[in-house]
């Protein structure tokens, strides 16, 4: 069951540096010391992390759905940031765990710590019931951005939708590279882990700092426009039975919360369509749905054409390239020169590398085709989704984009009544609100629980 020793056979491989030129002496009185091997931190930390994740998720769910407390969520976010971010230094994280899962699915020999599997699965399970409570106050990347979002502005919805495709593309790319064991791009380009460790590559520190500065005005840029795990969670939240609601009770359509969400998650009830328009909309929907396979095919073709470019990241492919044109290696290219030197050290023949690289290229041809098809699917479905309308008559957060941050709660007069800040909702309603106040708005779903 456990395939942990995959690394050990490597030790038996050929080596140019294993000679014993001077046999170690047999000392008479001197005691030969042991080679020091300081142990890693106790695996108990692993279990502590798992327990902390479960506790934080449960608490976030309670704070978002039960207590409806934005302050509570903020405090929990700060604690999560301190624990999962600064104390545990950003690893393990659910976003990066995508890659382990992808690699394990495609590679039978990849052992994955149980913690990583739990970190991948648990927030998704929570999202399936309660929405993105993980993003609300557990994820350290989300927390650092949530705390940075001091003056968040809304951005146009079309931009929100367009950039919203990026996480899905990123997910595809990350899975492609992880599945083949080429690279873990999510970790390589994690913008905040350098902060959590208080050290790291300058480029990543700058990237992270830029995101934080942007994040003051455009809230959670990484979450919304990059994070592949957020995309998965958003989709799962779409199915959530108990998602956060803006009003504690029923929506009276006062529109006070309309502008409340800096993440563009609040959806207004769509105006009813005339029958003719509805027919037109339905025809458009059918057309876009029919176009999805075309997008997929187009993506697959384009993807296939880019496979050589994508494969350039792969070690075997690069090594083969260097070996094939050894004379052309730039003398300043230390990596290439060292790689060739390391290759000589293994005693392998170049032919072996070339055939391995050819095999990798073949794999990438398939992978790139699939990636292209995936991107086509994402684009096609996004366009389809843009012309669907969900008939509802309340203001509600779109579960895909809502990170359950709790900002909108206070805008709702019903909430203000619940908290005892005002006596009745009339007090805060703008003049001329076209809502019959004393009629309880019809619930969108008879069976829905709050």
């Amino acid at each position: 069951m456990v395939l942990t020793l995959a690394a050990l056979p490597l030790l038996c491989g050929g080596s140019a540096s294993g000679e014993e030129r001077f046999p170690p002496p047999d000392f008479t009185y001197h005691k030969m010391p042991e080679t020091p091997v300081p142990p890693p931190p106790s695996p108990l930390w692993e279990y502590a992390d798992t327990a902390a994740l479960l506790a934080a998720l449960a608490l976030a769910t309670y704070l978002a759905l039960g207590r409806r407390s934005r302050n509570g969520l903020l405090i929990l976010a700060a604690v999560s940031l301190l624990w999962f971010g600064f104390r545990r230094e950003g690893c393990v994280c659910s976003i990066g765990a995508i890659q382990d899962v992808a690699e394990a699915v495609f590679n039978a020999h990849r052992a994955v710590p149980g913690t990583v599997i739990v970190f991948f699965t648990l927030p998704i399970v929570f999202a399936l019931f309660f929405g993105r409570v993980f993003c609300a106050a557990v994820c350290p990347l989300g927390a650092i951005q949530e705390l940075a979002a001091i003056r968040p502005q809304r951005i146009p919805l079309w931009l929100e939708h367009t950039l919203g495709i990026v996480p899905w593309v990123y997910l595809g790319v990350a899975v492609l590279y992880a599945a083949g064991g080429t690279a873990y791009v999510i970790c390589e380009y994690d913008p905040f882990v350098a902060f959590f460790r208080r050290s790291g590559a300058a480029s990543m520190l700058i990237f992270g700092a830029c995101l934080l500065v942007i994040g003051i005005f455009i809230g959670r840029p990484y979450c919304r426009f990059l994070c592949p795990y957020g995309a998965i969670l958003g989709l799962a939240s779409k199915l959530a039975r108990w998602h956060v609601r803006i009003p504690p009770t029923n929506c009276i359509r006062c529109r006070l919360c309309e502008e409340a969400c800096p993440y563009g998650a609040i959806v207004s009830p769509p105006a009813p369509l005339a029958p003719a328009e509805r027919r037109k909309a339905r025809r458009r929907l059918a057309l876009f749905l029919a176009a999805v396979p075309v997008w997929i095919a187009l993506g697959a073709v384009v993807g296939r054409m880019t496979h050589a470019t994508l494969a350039r990241m792969d070690y075997q492919v690069r090594l083969a390239g260097w070996l094939a044109a050894e004379k052309d290696i730039d003398p300043n290219d230390k990596l290439a020169l060292d790689a060739v030197r390391a290759f000589r050290n293994t005693g392998q023949s170049p032919a072996e590398v070339f055939s391995a690289a050819a095999a990798r290229l073949e794999t990438f041809r398939t992978g790139a085709t699939l990636l292209g098809a995936w991107i086509g699917l994402v684009v096609g479905l996004k366009l389809t989704q843009l012309c669907t309308r969900t008939p509802r008559d309340d203001y509600h957060p779109d579960p895909r984009r809502c990170v359950a941050c709790g900002r909108c709660f206070w805008y709702c007069p019903e909430e203000q009544v619940r908290r005892g800040w005002i006596q009745s909702v009339e007090a805060v309603l703008p003049q001329g609100t076209p809502v019959p106040l004393n009629t309880v708005a019809r619930r969108d779903s008879p069976g829905e629980k709050t």
């Binding site: 030129r21 001197h30 030969m32 890693p40 913690t115 882990v193 230390k334």
Partner: protein, 190 residues
């Protein structure tokens, strides 16, 4: 979608069904991974000393300012030579511990006379910067008992080790936490 009421409840049923399917899917994936790939302890990064060419990247590419990779002297393999080619530069002026006679740029190797005529070389890990100079020197003319290892009291176990990305020899491998080092360990003839 004849009447909104019906449409909504139909959507509800669809949603609940999908939710169940997704739950089973997520649970199934998690369970499958736990059963077939899972293990209790963590995976850690380690250097396969037979692949490493001591290029020096270990010293410069770790996310930690003071790299978590350090040189170790594998005492079971060391020849305890007086003229240690890991300790001394190619043509040392004298075989003593004067700074100018040391190959190590930080003076991290401690040379100590033990039994005549042998010398024991110990690494001061606080000083070692994992430049790999001694490793190359020892491999060239000695027993290759000096080599680099990730020190797990220092390593923060990045999910993707930064040095592994920069390693030209693909020497970084993930090892189970129960076997955190890849020591060469001479099998001593009896």
């Amino acid at each position: 979608m004849a009447s909104p009421g019906k449409g909504v409840s139909r959507r509800e049923i669809l949603r609940d069904g999908l939710q169940m399917a997704a739950l089973v899917g997520a649970g199934g994936l998690g369970g499958y991974l736990l059963g077939n790939h899972g293990q209790g302890d963590d995976m850690l990064w380690q250097i396969d000393p037979y692949k490493c060419i001591a290029c020096g990247n270990c010293g410069t590419h770790c996310v930690l300012q003071d790299s978590a990779v350090k040189c170790v002297n594998d005492f079971s393999m060391c020849g305890y030579c007086d003229l240690c080619t890991g300790y001394f530069p190619p043509e040392p002026a004298a075989l003593n511990t004067a700074a100018e006679n040391q190959l190590c740029p930080t003076g991290a190797i401690v040379r100590r006379a033990v039994e005549e005529p042998y010398y024991e070389y110990t690494i001061d890990e606080d000083l070692c910067i994992a430049c790999g100079k001694c490793v190359v020197g020892c491999a060239a003319f000695g027993n290759a008992s000096l080599y680099l290892q990730v020190r797990h009291d220092r390593c923060v176990n990045c999910h993707q080790c930064s040095i592994a990305i920069a390693c030209p020899s693909q020497a970084f491998v993930r090892v189970p936490g129960s076997q955190p080092y890849l020591l060469k360990q001479r099998i001593r003839p009896k």
